[in-house]
Symmetry: C2
Subunit: 410 residues, 2 copies
């Protein structure tokens, strides 16, 4: 029976959490920044201490590789997540998955385990995407979804070029992304949502990842006097926008629906208290783990907008901002997660990842799944992000069990 | 049978419409500005040409007075409107009412009419309120609703002081506002709304003026991730705001309702596409010509907000921005308008003024009513504001008839 070193895992996690404080004292490790370099140096140092071979690929993904003469040449089992952060972040998102993977490999190596295939822990470049777009870039490039040279040429929100910044901080590797062909990929992550904490689950066996549909909707009405224009004469862009928002919420509340929908941005023109809005511009973010259902929602929205054009006499245009199909994870790995959670007496439920993850990119090239642990009150992307130590350790132990079985460690 | 000089009325109206073009070529006569001085000079010049005694009071209202030895000492019948404008205005709003009143008095005087009481045409100061607040200031001060010194001390949006600006343009009078005690007040005005044009009416007998209730509503929810937060866990300030907007529209559509409601301003925080809004701030402008009904709407809104706090778990605060009770005009004058419209074969309907008017201030101190003529497509406060010449003349003729009867002109 293999074990992890719990104290070391927590010590690594909290030490990494103390790096990358910006001028305001906020934890912000934007991709390829000076603060993220601190985190990279720390993590790659720990990989070397653990006896792993550290390889940085051209897009800056850091791979800590443990292979033995016996398993050399076999496809590696890859594990990992990311260590870049959003602005004013918590200390768990991403880091937990990288450091738990490191801990598992280090523990197995120290215990003299023999594995049927190499084990790799990877810290993927630019998962959050706050400086360079798109997010999940390192894993996307690794999986062949974006050309490495295009990614390196990306200009950031601060005018910098990713490739130059990676060189500047010493993390521009020479190895081509994709150089290791994974046998499978498993990612451990905090939930970043409220479900497991509210419902008392310790382990989430993540079976899929929501598809995302982003649209910008522009409704044009007729600007008019708020006092002299009777209701029946109004062509009110603002009321039409409000109807769309309430309609989409009603759809989310239909029995059995797994859709979530958010209008996060809105603006009226001319935005004057006594003038009927001539224009309303707002965003609609719709997500569903099933592609067919997501298309149904998109169609329902389009049908409703077409109906509104008739009933409310407004003119509506839509612009697609983003679209990702849902990802279905590997059933075999999901079942393993459930099996070992049960074995350890941990309450486990199947989960959908509401957020984007590096695992969704790896799922393009190998069997992939994720393990979730609860986030207290569902808070994430915030310094108040918190997961209890017992949950962090339980997640790492189930992760260990899964890795042991998948690598046939003895 | 008295007549007006139709050509002169139109010539005056179009000449006044050509004054006050600003640097961009837009017609903008803000109260006490250089461009408004042009208009004041023109109108007071025409008053003198017509043989009227021109008196400017301390708040800058210009009164053109026609009294005879026979009717001196009687309470005057006052007529008029305003000649200041909004930014980039049309040429009818206000000006039509002043110049038609001038035309009627001039025509009666030229015809050698004898009237039982003096006739006065007044151009009220700062009706639009775009530079100095509140709007309808000149008539408000005249009716005793605001101290003249307070009004003169008003600081404008451009940092100027009204009293100083009136002095600078030569329209700071020495006579106290209210120096003439009106027998009655009648105001002719364009509708500024779509009803009469759409329904084919030439004359509106304005029997009342809507009450106005303005509130700013702040809804606080909980900021959360748009992907990882299931619908049942959301406390979405944006959805709650959308519900309020649609609810108020539904109330306006209840059978028999005369309420109009407008949400002209809205903002979400943090206003990010993938973040559930933590805050929604928006305005609600509710109007109804009946005070009891207006209070019912305010109560319905308050009840709905209280219900939302329970059902949606949001926190709601409201701030009153403005509140005016409805004004009921003088039934005797309204009946006269109907009588003379009918006599001239003009389609007439009773109307509610949706906009604020100088007449609502005069109604505090004497019997008052208004006459409306149609605005093509209801457009106003816009260079495309338009009323057909035949409608302008028909309105002025009914106005003449009413003035003749009320002044007992012979």
């Amino acid at each position: 029976m293999f074990k992890i070193n719990k104290e070391r895992l927590l010590a690594h996690l909290f030490a990494l959490g103390k790096t990358g404080l910006d001028a305001e004292g906020q934890r912000t490790r934007a991709c390829a920044s000076d603060t993220e370099k601190e985190g990279r140096d720390l993590v790659s140092g720990w990989m070397r201490e653990a006896g792993l071979k550290v390889v940085v690929d051209r897009i800056g993904n850091i791979h800590g590789i443990w292979e033995t003469p016996e398993n050399q040449g076999q496809k590696p089992l890859m594990l990992g997540s990311h260590i870049d952060t959003v602005i004013n972040a918590g200390q768990y998102d991403g880091c937990y998955g990288v450091l738990a993977a490191l801990e598992i490999i280090q523990s197995l190596r120290e215990a003299g385990a023999a594995t049927a295939r190499p084990l790799v822990v990877t810290a993927w470049t630019n998962e959050e995407g706050i400086r360079y777009s798109p997010d999940m870039m390192g894993s996307l490039v690794y999986a062949g979804g974006m050309k490495c040279d295009d990614a390196l040429a990306t200009v950031g929100v601060d005018g910098t070029v990713l490739g130059e910044e990676l060189r500047r901080i010493g993390y521009a590797g020479t190895v081509e992304p994709g150089f290791l062909k994974p046998y499978a990929f498993v990612e451990l992550h905090i939930e970043q949502g409220p479900i497991m904490d509210a419902e008392g689950y310790a382990i989430g066996a993540v079976e899929d990842l929501q598809g995302i549909s982003w649209q910008k909707i522009t409704i044009e009405g007729v600007q008019n006097h708020a006092g002299t224009t009777p209701t029946s004469y109004r062509i009110d862009a603002g009321v039409a926008a409000a109807k769309v928002i309430t309609y989409m919420r009603q759809r989310c509340l239909l029995p059995g629906s797994r859709t979530v929908c958010t209008t996060g941005c809105i603006a009226f023109e001319p935005n004057a208290i006594n003038v009927i809005p001539s224009k309303a511009v707002f965003t609609v973010d719709v997500r569903n783990p099933n592609e067919e259902k997501l298309r149904e929602e998109e169609k329902a929205l389009a049908d409703y907008l077409a109906e509104l054009e008739k009933t409310d006499k407004v003119k509506i245009t839509t612009e697609r901002l983003s679209r990702f199909e849902p990802v279905l994870f590997d059933e075999g790995i999901v079942t393993l997660v459930e099996k070992y959670a049960k074995k350890r007496g941990l309450r486990c439920r199947r989960m959908t990842s509401g957020a984007g993850q590096d695992a969704q990119m790896l799922a393009r090239i190998c069997p992939t799944a994720m393990i979730f642990v609860p986030s207290v009150n569902g808070i994430s992307h915030n310094p108040r992000e918190f997961t209890k130590e017992e949950d962090l350790l339980a997640g790492a132990e189930v992760f260990l069990d899964v890795v042991v079985e998948m690598s046939e460690a003895k």
